[in-house]
Symmetry: C2
Subunit: 362 residues, 2 copies
């Protein structure tokens, strides 16, 4: 191949010098290419993560998110190594309906925590993001300041079709972030119900962001989510919105009072906040610290983390068993007709299920 | 063998007469024995059920409840035949914590319905009954009058270890009762959470019985159950209890107002009743009829029944897949150690699940 930079006519010494330079430049280009193409070794990624290198962290998370089986194998090795290097952290789940101001709040809260000397990682669970075009964290620029903050790490939502798949990737990512030295993990999700259960099963403290609405109706949030939340924070409590936010706070406080006592012994907090004025942000952190001390003392903190590990073990088995069944060619060819027969009452749902299971096990 | 009734000395004619009598009596005894021992044929049971014979109904339900595979096979044939002979019915679920007066209420309500010319069957879902000694319907005498009522049929809870198993038996029993001519099916359960979901998935109208408590706290009932109920009825609204019942009614009414709108378009009703004075019993029936008309008109009635059939198909598959997995000898020998390894963070829950699944599929 001709190198356009190579002069057309040179003396012998000059020629050999150019050849040497060419060789060097080719070699270094190859190095760069190799660095880009070749996956770094598991050992080097683990070493990088443990020394706080976020480039290595990002590359390892990419392996977790990959659908390539070889990558999955490497990812498992990295996770196992990182599991051996865990340290005390606080995992915070944050949810709220679209428009509640989640990103703005997380940016304020995250920057506040880094000013206290904490290292903060922000992840998201949003299995619908590939469909909705990424309603949360898809656009990193929504947290402009936090992204640039050297003590913060913001990772957009893992993509995937199933909540289980996305949840698994997020939970494995938490392990890597914690091994990488992050003290506080923030897991964001949208308030649609199913996602919240997944988030609740991977965090220590669950925060529900709400917005003041018309009247005192609870704004489009499922009751189950309120039952999970350790705190409800009414956002946009500033300027003209202050009075409405305070009214909403009272309503939510009353509604929470109707709920039964928590296993944690914690009485959920209702408060207001403003990402604009920073009002309520330090108080929230005090609440989370109080919860942390409370649950560490009564043992609930460890109990919950233990239960969460078992939950993900059993949940993954369950999901995989179903996935194997429904993706089996025999079942795929029979399911639609079987459902129709059940609907027409030609066969009972139970007999139909048994028939499909017999075909599957044949 | 000697027959003690046979005289020791007789003439020849007499003797032959005795022998003939003996043969007849032996034959008829054999018939009775056969009738008791031998299962009647599927065809005869189906014929009996379709003609409203409750002895045949009871025998067929016993087949449904049997763990003998041959019985299960016969039960399936009977159910399939009965499915072809369905007619319009109303299925009502009734729940409430122990002490709320479920049996007394169902006796009053059931007898009221039969006076309107309805045929009423009462079934129960209570997977814990074998442990608790049968907290509901276990003792039929708790509904003394209803049991004697010729237009009512009361069947104690099917026994079983799993909710899924008991639910399946109950749902199949509903099919048989409906084919047997019962217009109104009442499915009773205790207010413990998981049972209610199963009942909600097999009834058209779900009624929550509540008792007036101290203050205005919602009495030990899960929020999810309130979200399912089409009506909440405060029991024991008579004599000294009347004022407290009316106060409780107001509290529940307010609490329900905080809940989001139903898919059915139905606004849940809160009312009081007394099994003693019969106050509120006719009004409840009017409410159920209003709900029936409302959901028949907007199509929700059929939608819900369609969804229920699919729910039981998928739920049965799910339960069976899990049961096959966890009862597999390989899994039984590995599960405890694997859980321990996950707890000690020697392996991630996801990697552990994959390991178990690989062993299972080997």
């Amino acid at each position: 191949m001709n190198n356009p930079k190579k002069p057309s006519s040179v003396d012998s010494a000059q020629k050999s010098k150019y050849t040497a330079m060419e060789n060097i430049s080719q070699a270094s280009a190859k190095n760069v290419q190799n660095f880009r193409k070749k996956q770094p070794s598991v050992a080097s990624l683990v070493q990088g993560i443990l020394s706080g290198n976020t480039s290595c962290l990002s590359r390892a998370i990419t392996l977790i998110e990959s659908t390539n089986p070889e990558h999955a194998h490497k990812a498992n090795e990295i996770i196992t190594s990182c599991l051996e290097n865990t340290k005390p952290t606080i995992r915070i789940g944050i949810t709220g309906i679209p428009g509640v101001g989640k990103s703005t709040f997380i940016e304020s809260f995250g920057n506040y925590l880094t000013r206290l000397g904490k290292k903060v990682a922000v992840l998201a669970i949003d299995p619908s993001s590939s469909l909705s075009g990424g309603s949360i964290l898809g656009d990193k620029t929504r947290m402009e300041e936090l992204v640039k903050n050297p003590n913060a790490y913001v990772r957009p939502s893992a993509t995937g079709n199933t909540l289980g798949g996305v949840a698994r990737k997020t939970r494995d990512t938490i392990v890597l972030c914690e091994a990488c030295g992050f003290d506080i993990l923030i897991i964001e999700t949208v308030g649609v119900g199913q996602n919240e259960i997944a988030v609740d099963r991977m965090v220590d403290f669950f925060l529900l962001l709400q917005i003041a609405g018309a009247g005192d109706a609870l704004q489009g949030i499922k009751r189950g989510i309120m039952e999970m939340a350790e705190a409800i924070l009414i956002t946009k409590a500033d300027g003209d919105g202050l009075a409405a936010a305070q009214l909403a706070k009272t309503t939510y406080c009353k509604a929470l009072g109707l709920f039964p006592a928590r296993k944690s012994g914690w009485i959920p907090i209702t408060a207001t906040c403003s990402a604009l004025t920073q009002d309520g942000i330090p108080e929230l952190w005090q609440t989370i610290c109080a919860y942390h001390i409370h649950t560490k003392q009564n043992g609930y903190f460890e109990t919950k983390r233990t239960e969460q590990k078992e939950y993900w073990l059993l949940e993954t088995i369950d999901e995989q068993l179903k996935s194997n069944f429904y993706n089996h060619p025999k079942i795929q060819s029979l399911l639609a007709a079987t459902k129709k027969a059940v609907q027409k009452e030609e066969i009972s749902p139970f007999a139909a299920a048994q028939m499909l299971l017999n075909k599957y096990l044949e």
